[in-house]
């Protein structure tokens, strides 16, 4: 139960002289520090960290945890984020000492089990992607995008082609254009139709031989599968460009269709979404990528190679783009993904997608009577409802609805994204929710639309805080605690 008293900061709770950690006595000869290091390198005093006892720390952090909504405690239909259940067996298995107490520079002879696992994961991802070559190095989806775009740049350098542009649909996630800019490309937006599909005329107008990559999310950020994908891929390829698939929405199509089969040359996975790696309050995730045979030589180093039944890490890859992250990658997340995939097998994975899409369509069939869903009656794993009518009729915004949901014990959907829908509420139930939960959520949405606008504009009323003053936070930024 939430403890209303527990809002003090660590620094306010601290008192000089309190201790939590206990360290052993030094068992090697105690040479004076001055004999070991030059005086100018030393700090006169240790860093001014807070001093607390262990019981206080545990209570502090435990009480803080109760001020969060989470998948373990609440329905969390945050669109685009695939907040599905995080299996507990994966937590236990990923924490086995033989998985976790491994140094990244251990000799590969002492890592054969882990390398076997990672190699197995690569093979499964390649099969799901329909693309043969995988790198597990990128640390999140956005870094997978960047890595792939750097691969594209290296590929066109090898071909001696100067291609300076990356195209993204206007419905794209913000990381797509941001990654393109980081990789040194100019970004150009392609318009979407009202249903969120690529506007083919606009694509044709913007596509030429200066375009390196078209980045597409399919199913897209409205939760719709763009059936033009075959034609889009053909047009991009005809002009010598590459098609990138943002795989954030893979939860809809596992075992049903494969990016490689519908024309993608490269893609990233978000294992923290699709493969149930817990989101950790904002990470860690991982961002493995899969690419075509032609792009495989450019993958980051090291790659796992198999020689008979021995696994090795190979660093000597002359065409590789290099590295985007130190060491191997977010291995702990990858181990959980492996566990998830092995738990499901081919049938199970397909059923994950079937039920994710079933749950989303079922919820859509209920929500559309409350909030219009501009894209139509059907969706893949998520859909975007519009609060525009409620806004114009009663002055209640999508944000108000989102905040009021919290009072009823539901996390809010993603709001105001994608930018192409007014008062957008992007709802992704995932396959791990029950019909009863979806019914209760839809009923609550309906109930909220009947509530007085005053009540809604002030919501939430039951959370640990009311609405924060975000303008003040940005105008007078206070980003750390300071002693008065």
């Amino acid at each position: 139960m939430r403890n209303a008293r527990a809002t003090q900061l660590l620094f306010e709770l601290a008192r000089p002289g309190r201790r939590s950690a206990q360290l052993p006595a030094c068992d090697v000869p105690e040479v004076p520090l001055d004999d070991l290091l030059p005086a100018e390198a030393l700090s006169p005093a240790p860093p001014p960290l807070p001093e607390l006892s262990e019981p206080e720390l545990v209570r502090h952090f435990t009480n803080l945890s109760t001020q969060n909504m989470s998948v373990d405690t609440h329905f969390y239909p945050l669109g685009s984020c695939t907040m599905k259940y995080n299996p507990k067996r994966n937590e236990r298995l990923a924490s086995l000492p033989g998985m976790i107490d491994l140094h990244p520079y251990q000799p590969s002879a002492t890592l054969q089990g882990l390398l076997e696992l990672l190699d197995g994961l690569q093979q499964m991802l390649a099969e799901i992607a329909g693309l043969p070559a995988v790198s597990l190095q990128p640390a999140a989806g956005a870094q997978g995008e960047l890595t792939s775009l750097l691969i594209a740049a290296a590929h066109f350098r090898t071909l001696g082609q100067k291609r300076t542009k990356v195209l993204t649909p206007d419905s794209a996630h913000g990381t797509n254009p941001a990654s393109a800019a980081m990789a040194g490309f100019d970004t150009v937006q392609v318009k979407s139709t009202p249903a969120g599909f690529v506007e083919m005329e606009d694509l044709a107008a913007k596509l030429d031989d200066s375009v390196a990559v078209f980045m597409i999310t399919n199913p897209n950020t409205l939760g719709m599968f763009d059936r033009q994908i075959g034609e889009i891929a053909k047009r991009v390829h005809d002009l010598g460009g590459l098609l990138y698939l943002d795989g954030a929405n893979m939860n809809a199509i596992l075992g049903i269709t494969r990016p490689g089969d519908f024309g993608a040359d490269m893609m990233h996975f978000n294992p923290h979404k699709t493969f149930s790696g817990p989101h950790g309050g904002g990470g860690p995730g991982a961002g493995p990528i899969a690419v075509s045979e032609a792009l495989a030589p450019y993958l980051p180093v090291p790659v796992i190679v198999r020689d008979g039944d021995r696994y090795e890490l190979e660093y000597d890859r002359p065409q590789s783009i290099g590295r985007v992250r130190s060491f191997f990658g977010n291995v702990g997340v990858l181990v959980r993904s492996y566990c998830y995939l092995r738990t499901h097998g081919p049938e199970g994975l397909r059923r994950v997608s079937e039920n994710a899409v079933l749950n989303a369509n079922y919820l859509l069939s209920k929500v559309k009577h409350i909030f219009p869903v501009p894209q139509g009656d059907r969706c893949m794993h998520e859909f975007v409802a519009s609060g525009a009518r409620l806004k114009s009729d009663r002055g209640v915004s999508a944000m108000d609805v989102a905040k009021r949901l919290l009072d009823y014990g539901f996390h809010a959907p993603t709001v105001y994204f994608p930018p192409i829908v007014r008062e957008a509420m992007m709802i992704e139930p995932t396959e791990t929710e029950t019909k009863e939960t979806l019914d209760a959520f839809a009923e609550t949405l309906f109930r909220i639309t009947e509530e007085p606008p005053d009540l809604l504009c002030e919501a939430p009323h039951t959370t640990s805080i009311s609405r924060p003053d975000e303008v003040r936070a940005a105008r007078q930024p206070v980003m750390s605690w300071r002693a008065e």
């Binding site: 360290l23 052993p24 000869p29 290091l37 030393l42 700090s43 240790p46 860093p47 607390l52 720390l57 545990v58 952090f61 945890s65 001020q67 969060n68 909504m69 373990d72 405690t73 907040m83 067996r89 298995l93 520079y105 000799p107 002492t110 890592l111 089990g113 882990l114 696992l117 640390a139 956005a142 740049a153 913000g174 254009p177 990654s179 800019a181 980081m182 989101h279 950790g280 904002g282 990470g283 860690p284 783009i321 985007v324 130190s326 995939l341 092995r342 081919p346 049938e347 809010a412 994204f417 396959e431 805080i465 009311s466 003053d469 975000e470 936070a473 940005a474 930024p477 206070v478 980003m479």
Partner: protein
């Protein structure tokens, strides 16, 4: 047969299901009855119709070729068997470092991080439902500023290496100098590889100053900084474990109008002067040392802190303090106009998902250590590392590669014999004795890097010396 029954058969038949809820859906609640009711509500006959939007010719017409499903018991047995083929740091004594270390992790770190409310939540987009995470990030940021002596910290980046590259990009936009970046050979080679990869298409020249003595000469560094140099990237203590002359390096950078970006070992700050006190402009670090397992390289924690005037160019999430409508103190994500979800291609970085749970781990670790614990940890590392370098170079034929003062790591040269072979045999005898440097440094091909944390005992160090004595001398 009623319509409902007919549908029941169709849903069931399509999958050949005998049971209400089959085993390949361990985390799905929908029974066949649920599915039928839901399809009815949608107005569909079968699950297949859900996918009508996907053109027939693009569908996968066969099951995925991946291994069959495993039950929890089978999966446990399988993972346990795989784990058994690895040699964990518990089985061999670990003297490996180079950016990942076998430091002690207090039990409360694991305990707190295992709270479902922390690890199964996401980025705090709804602050009213995320005060736990937001306050933790605010506390983490404060702890990092206390540790580094800098003004502002973000809420995490991916790892130390990509944080270093992000810091350089931030320096470029801050100074508006797009010509050159100067670094040193003593910076972690993987960090420099990442930087080179990130800079590959940006037209920025990367100059690397040699470090034959184990540290970078401030004069040689200064000679490479020109009027279009955005920053200098150094590491302190550096990749070889040596302390750099940071005051002089800061002066060299600042004299030429460039920023000083420094990568630090957070544990060393229990003892060493804080970067904020010697003039660093941006500080980055690998946060793994602060309460996270080595985990074969990740997930880790990219730490980044800077001076207040640069914060609007900083990448990543930042938690800020404000008040709610009732005037109560609370926390939000702030300065979001730096970020990709608002600014898209003009954002300071593409980072979205970061390493929140590992920032939490670091916060619990630092709070548990306090000033005394972090100081003691740093002193234990220093004393044990010096004892180890003394024993290794006195008892064996190994010689120190450099003469500069070191913190918890040092490089030894193996004048007789083959480093790789010696390390392999040491591993067979139960010691992960060091990281060979030949992969990165031709001139150090006969050297390896030894790291000694507070966890190593005198017995283990003596054992390593005895083992290496046999190996390096018998190799001679």
């Amino acid at each position: 047969m009623s319509l409902a029954q007919a549908r029941s058969n169709r849903v069931g038949d399509a999958r050949g299901e005998a049971t209400q809820h089959d085993e390949t859906m361990p985390y799905v609640a929908n029974t066949t009855d649920d599915q039928r009711a839901m399809l009815d509500a949608i107005g569909l006959e079968s699950l297949d119709e859900l996918f009508e939007a996907i053109p027939e010719e693009l569908r996968l017409k066969r099951p995925l070729a991946i291994p069959p499903a495993l039950s929890e018991m089978e999966l446990t047995a399988h993972l346990t068997a795989l784990a058994g083929k690895n040699a964990s740091a518990g089985e061999k004594v670990c003297f490996l470092g180079g950016g990942s270390y076998d430091h002690f992790i207090p039990a409360i770190v694991d305990h707190v991080a295992a709270r479902g409310e922390f690890y199964t939540s996401y980025t705090p987009y709804q602050p009213e439902a995320s005060q736990g995470n937001l306050q933790v990030f605010f506390e983490y940021q404060t702890l990092i500023t206390q540790l580094t002596g800098m003004d502002v910290s973000n809420a995490s980046l991916y790892d130390g290496g990509s944080a270093a590259a992000e810091a350089v990009l931030m320096a470029v936009t801050t100074t508006k100098r797009h010509g050159r970046v100067v670094t040193a050979n003593s910076v972690h080679p993987e960090y420099r590889e990442i930087l080179a990869t990130y800079l590959a298409n940006l037209g920025i020249e990367l100059v690397t100053v040699g470090t034959p003595e184990g540290t970078v000469s401030p004069a040689e560094l200064a000679a490479q900084i020109n009027g279009d140099t955005a920053c200098v990237l150094v590491q302190h203590p550096n990749f070889f474990g040596c302390l750099e002359e940071v005051d002089a390096l800061a002066a060299a950078a600042h004299d030429a109008g460039a920023l000083l970006v420094v990568a630090v070992d957070p544990i060393s700050l229990g003892l060493l002067k804080r970067p904020g006190d010697y003039g660093a402009d941006i500080v980055v670090a690998e946060g793994q040392s602060l309460g996270s397992p080595m985990s074969f390289g990740g997930p880790y924690l990219g730490i980044m802190a800077c001076r207040e005037q640069h914060v609007r160019r900083m990448p990543g999430r930042i938690a800020g303090e404000t008040v709610d409508r009732r005037g109560k103190r609370c926390f939000v994500l702030t300065l979001q106009t730096r970020e990709q979800h608002i600014r898209r291609e003009k954002a300071t970085s593409n980072i979205c998902t970061n390493q929140g749970l590992f920032a939490l781990r670091a916060a619990v670790y630092l709070a548990a250590m306090g000033p005394v614990g972090i100081r003691q940890t740093a002193e234990l590392c220093l004393r044990k590392a010096r004892y180890a370098s003394g024993r290794l170079t006195a008892d064996t034929s190994l010689v120190p590669a450099f003469s500069r003062p070191t913190f918890k790591e040092f490089v030894v040269r193996c004048p007789h014999g083959n480093v790789e072979a010696a390390l392999e045999r040491a591993s067979e005898s139960g010691y992960l004795a060091g990281v060979p440097l030949s992969r990165w440094y031709d001139d150090l091909a006969d050297c390896f890097l030894v790291a000694v944390t507070e966890r190593r005992t005198q017995d283990e160090i003596d054992g390593l010396a005895a083992c290496l004595k046999e190996l390096t001398c018998s190799n001679a």
